[in-house]
Amino acid sequence: MKPRYKLRAAFILLAAVHAAVVFAGFLAPYGFANQDRELPFAPPTRLHFFDAHGRFHARPFVYRSQPDPSQPNAYINDTTQEYPVHFFVLGAAYRIAGILPAREHLFGVDEPGRILLFGSDAFGRDQFSRFLYGGQLSLLAGLLAAAISVTLGMFIGGLAGFYGGWIDEALMRGGDLFLALPWLYLLFAVRAALPLHVSQRQIFVLLVAVMGLIGWARPARLIRGVALSAKERNFVLAARGFGASNAYILRRHVLPQAYSVALTQITLLIPQYILAEVTLTFLGLGVGEPMPSWGSLLSSLQQYYVLASYWWMFLPALFLMPLFLAYYAAADALQERLKSVPL
């Protein structure tokens, strides 16, 4: 696929995913902490168009799941009552982007029916809703951390490349230090040094800050290269001839050359950081309950019986794949563009 189309397709997919996550409240039929103790580990609800008597319903409906009396841990459908799926229903209150209060949901069923598109977890919480809300956390963490890393990398790499000399040596050696530690170990170490009992928000901020602060070394090295070659260019010399200061040259001539590299680096780093957040939360080191993250959605899979019997718990992990694919495709396309830009 041509880089241009690749980039466009990837961008559309990413925009769609992020939009879905931002509007999680609207798209999710339930709140993320909404439990139903009668339906732990229920499989995804199937949509039906034909009822038990064979009649066709234009509007799809669901049956309520009931524990199967003949087998433990299994469910059958209660076919006595149909619960049609309504669109644009009023449901639990939520806030759009944390600010605007609203109550409209895209779809839902009347109580006591329950529509569980991704099944439910041990507490009967709707995995689909938690998936959407969890995306807010995981995606935001990835984006912020990647932005911090690349901004830091631009700053440090730009200074190192531009000034050269001992500044360059010192900064790059410092970067080597960060590169010499396997990043997951480093993340654990810093996490361990921090107090365990802090508020949700603080953990999130700390997590993002730590991830961001660790990953500056590689982008910095690349941007240093750009700065090194940029400062030798004749247009920089010409600017000096007009009396430009170092700060001006860095700001207006050198760093802008690095924007394309920075963009590519961010696109590569975001999936890595999303995965890092998911891994950390999966292992119990991230933001805790009840705020979901994709990691916490997956953590129950560490128990064998969940892993073996409840396949729908894998769904959040499966959805990571097209997301990463989109990011990698975008990064690839950007790399191609970088190579062909006339310098």
Binding site: R233, N234, F235, L237, A238, A239, R240, G241, F242, G243, A244, Y248, H253, P256, Q257, P342, L343
Partner: protein
């Protein structure tokens, strides 16, 4: 072409520059002398041509004269002051007086800047006038060099080689310099574009009483434009004379070598002596 000597715009004494490099293997330092013992006096309104084969140190000298690089020996005098003793902040206003135009305009113009931004940049850096005034002046300069002002939002890659060079010249004129240094500016251009630019430079020199230093290896061009010629070889000026004299009888063997490389010497000599 003036016969009486006008005031001196710039003069150098004993100017020299060397680079210290290390051999990557043994880490031993060795010195490369770019040029040395350069004494020049440049008079207002005249054109000095610096000629010589490649590697003779011409570009390095040009950049030092334009205050873009620092020489390691000697002095540059302007208005009674040794410019090399000044701090950068003191040098700031003086930079308006001398500007350099590079050989390759593509590398000398930031590809991400628009034409208007490029020409206005010196004014921005020197903080002359408001944004609007800067823009107006930039458009005026573009017109002066023969580029339509409506091209102000175009990027350098949209211009041809000759047009880019004219854009670079417009930029160099922005600060109203007294002295312009041209580092082989015609070498990358075809004859038609060379002609356009030479005419432009001629007009500008007449209109504003500008002083030019041309680094050039093409003696045909030199014969047309130079009042005085300095011949460089291996970093030294081996001969320096008014142009007419030089073309009539080149004294130095190196000068003679340069001339020998040109087939139509007789024609040039003949043309100049009349």
């Amino acid at each position: 072409m003036m016969t009486e000597r006008s005031e001196i715009v710039l003069c150098t004494q004993n100017l020299g520059k060397h680079y210290v490099q290390r051999r990557s293997l043994t880490r031993a330092k060795f010195t490369v002398q770019a040029f040395q013992d350069v004494d020049l006096s440049i008079h207002r309104g005249t054109t000095l041509a610096i000629v010589g084969e490649s590697g003779a140190g011409k570009s390095s000298l040009a950049r030092c004269l334009a205050l873009l690089e620092a020489p390691t020996q000697g002095e540059i005098w302007c208005d009674g002051r040794n410019l090399l003793l000044l701090r950068e902040s003191e040098l700031f206003p003086i930079r308006r007086k001398v500007q350099l135009v590079f050989q390759d305009p593509a590398s000398a113009l930031n590809p991400r800047f628009t034409a208007g931004e490029i020409v206005a940049e010196p004014l921005l850096i020197q903080r002359i006038g408001t944004k609007t005034q800067q823009r107006e002046r930039a458009l005026g300069l573009m017109e002066q060099v023969g580029l339509p002002p409506k091209w102000e939002r175009k990027f350098p890659f949209e211009f041809s080689g000759g047009q880019r060079q004219r854009l670079a010249i417009a930029r160099a004129l922005a600060l109203e310099p007294k002295l312009l240094v041209f580092d082989e500016i015609l070498s990358n251009l075809d004859l038609a574009n060379q002609e356009i630019i030479l005419q432009l430079l001629n007009e500008l020199q007449r209109a504003h009483s500008l002083t030019y230093i041309h680094v050039c290896h093409d003696l045909r061009i030199v014969s047309r434009i130079a009042d005085e010629v300095a011949v460089m070889h291996a970093g030294r000026i081996v001969e320096q004379k008014p142009a007419t004299e030089l073309f009539a009888n080149p004294g130095d063997p190196h000068t003679k070598e340069l001339f020998e490389a040109m087939p139509s010497l007789e024609m040039i000599a003949a043309g100049r002596s009349t």
